[in-house]
Symmetry: C2
Subunit: 344 residues, 2 copies
């Protein structure tokens, strides 16, 4: 059978910290669009339609980091989430023509031998790219973190850092739908405006323009914070600890401000958790994937009714992948960052 | 009706930080052992039998501290837990002759108008002083913290700081009864020996003799810690964070190392909660008092069967109260510190 072109994005070497465009390069390979006869029984050949840029896609020096997989191996395609179409399959659960989302590689076509992350896409009346964000891993992170870890209730005062991120957007909208008072922080006036106008946040602020985060939070939460959905750690966590209410919950989805530091920042206000009986709970979405059907049942109707919306930054073509990934880490993406390779 | 002597221990002035003997003084007052006719409908006159010395009995500069009551007001009797006998009562739930435990005052006889903390003692086949410790607020703290906050399971690796304290003793024994591996830290060889010989801890160490707490915990927990029951905060919390296992739980009952500091210590290893999806949960026993009957049903049989034991340091006579309280804060008490005033 004839071979076709297979453009790939590969890592130049080992990456430490946040990846830059220059850490990756394009390679023009070829591939046969049929699985070899000897392919193992769970192997699937896919066409990658949309690739996902996510904050976990970074090198780490920390050996104690619990990573399910490494996105970067020298001269190998970047590994990450994507939406794919099955072209050939030895796996009993996936047939030619199926749409799936899960962990794939940054190339036009991939042979995937480890398919445990694949979830078949049953609902195609929403943008397929949503399965990289709102309806994929970030969406599940928002849902599990808010409902299963945050124990939210109507009327709660909710603060979300990195609120414009792939996770924060949904957390804020879920909180509003429940009847919470919601404030978000983000890194630009553009993002702050969208948080309020499109996502219905009660308030939002640009953390880069604030001198004293403690005072800022006191201004927006004169009665204190019930739930802090923390994506950043560091100074924002410090300020939030001071402003939490009794029995408050800090849901830690990430501490992106800390990963690049040689020595992590000391958090001085931790003793507040004793004074105010606060729960600080870090979690990983992988422990909650069994809730995915329930999640879809909850979110899909909201999307169809226009009650939940989502902002994506769609880069076009696999060549734009490295710049898109760098943009996500530097806060330049204007929405959940994805890379569109093909519509079908 | 004739008046009788009523020795009292009063606070000399406002107390900041840990109380010293010299912050209190003895006063010989008198009292009539009958409630006045005009006493309000919930008032109770009690004879104080055993008074309790507990770590919350300290002055604090912090305005955000959530205290249910203040133990020290100038020239007023110290306020704290005690076991009492009812001598006269306007309260429908308490009759003359009843034994109760709850918040009373450091004096031989007290008129208590705020009796919401009082719990009637139904089981007197155990030492009455236990209702200040093992069967009182510290015991409930251990029980609620271990079971309701720690989510323990058989085989868990459990570390308890201040393990010889009024709370730690019981946490360790509950963990052993469940089939956990239990290590405790304490501040003297005497305490370490009792933790192992009497309470059945698998291991125990004197934290004052350890130079590198991280290495110490690695030695005792080569596979890591599932539950850290934290009574101290600070350096021990820092070391525990590094040694927690994935999905570990840090149950924060107190951070006694931090209360005296002008500026709290920065906790640098907090980012570990993200790497390992750790839950840090501070709690107060007051949110779990509805479980008290269930607690008694669990603990009383263990006491009767000798499966749970308790070490008390019993100071004799109200005059010994100030020294006993200071001893508890300086780690000199050889067991849960109580002050015995009368047997009945």
């Amino acid at each position: 059978m004839a071979q076709v072109r297979n453009k790939q994005i590969l890592a130049s070497g080992y990456i430490t910290g946040n990846p830059k465009q220059t850490d990756m390069y394009l390679k023009n390979s070829t591939i046969t669009l049929q699985l070899p006869l000897h392919a193992s029984s769970e192997t699937v050949l896919v066409k990658n339609l949309v690739l996902s840029c996510d904050p976990y896609m970074r090198g780490t020096k920390r050996t104690d980091r619990n990573s399910l997989f490494n996105s970067f191996s020298p001269d190998s395609p970047i590994v990450g989430y994507g939406v794919c179409k099955v072209l050939d399959s030895k796996h009993p659960d996936f047939q030619k023509g199926d749409l799936v989302w899960g962990i794939t590689k940054w190339e036009e076509y991939s042979i995937i031998t480890k398919t445990d992350s694949f979830i078949k896409i049953e609902h195609t009346d929403v943008p397929l790219s949503y399965y990289n964000g709102l309806l994929g891993m970030p969406g599940m992170t928002a849902y599990a973190g808010f409902y299963e870890v945050g124990f939210p209730k109507k009327g709660d005062y909710v603060f979300i850092s990195s609120a414009f991120g792939a996770v924060g957007q949904l957390v804020g909208q879920l909180a509003k739908l429940l009847g919470c008072y919601v404030v978000g922080s983000a890194g630009s006036k553009y993002k702050v405006d969208i948080l309020k106008s499109k996502f219905g946040f009660d308030e939002a602020f640009n953390y880069k323009e604030e001198q004293d985060l403690d005072a800022t939070l006191k201004k927006y939460f004169p009665n204190g914070i019930d739930i802090y959905f923390d994506n950043v750690g560091g100074d924002m966590l410090e300020a939030a600890l001071v402003n939490m209410r009794r029995l408050g919950r800090i849901v830690v989805a990430g501490m992106i401000s800390q990963y690049e530091l040689d020595e992590p920042q000391g958090i001085k206000n931790l003793v507040n958790i004793v004074y105010k009986q606060i729960k600080v709970d870090a979690f990983t979405v992988y422990d909650y994937y069994h809730l995915y059907p329930k999640f879809l049942d909850t979110i899909l109707p909201y999307i169809r009714e226009g009650k939940i919306t989502y902002v994506e930054d769609i880069a076009n073509g696999i060549e734009s992948g490295p710049a898109a990934l760098e943009a996500m880490f530097t806060g330049k993406s204007s929405g959940k960052q994805v890379v569109l390779l093909a519509h079908e």
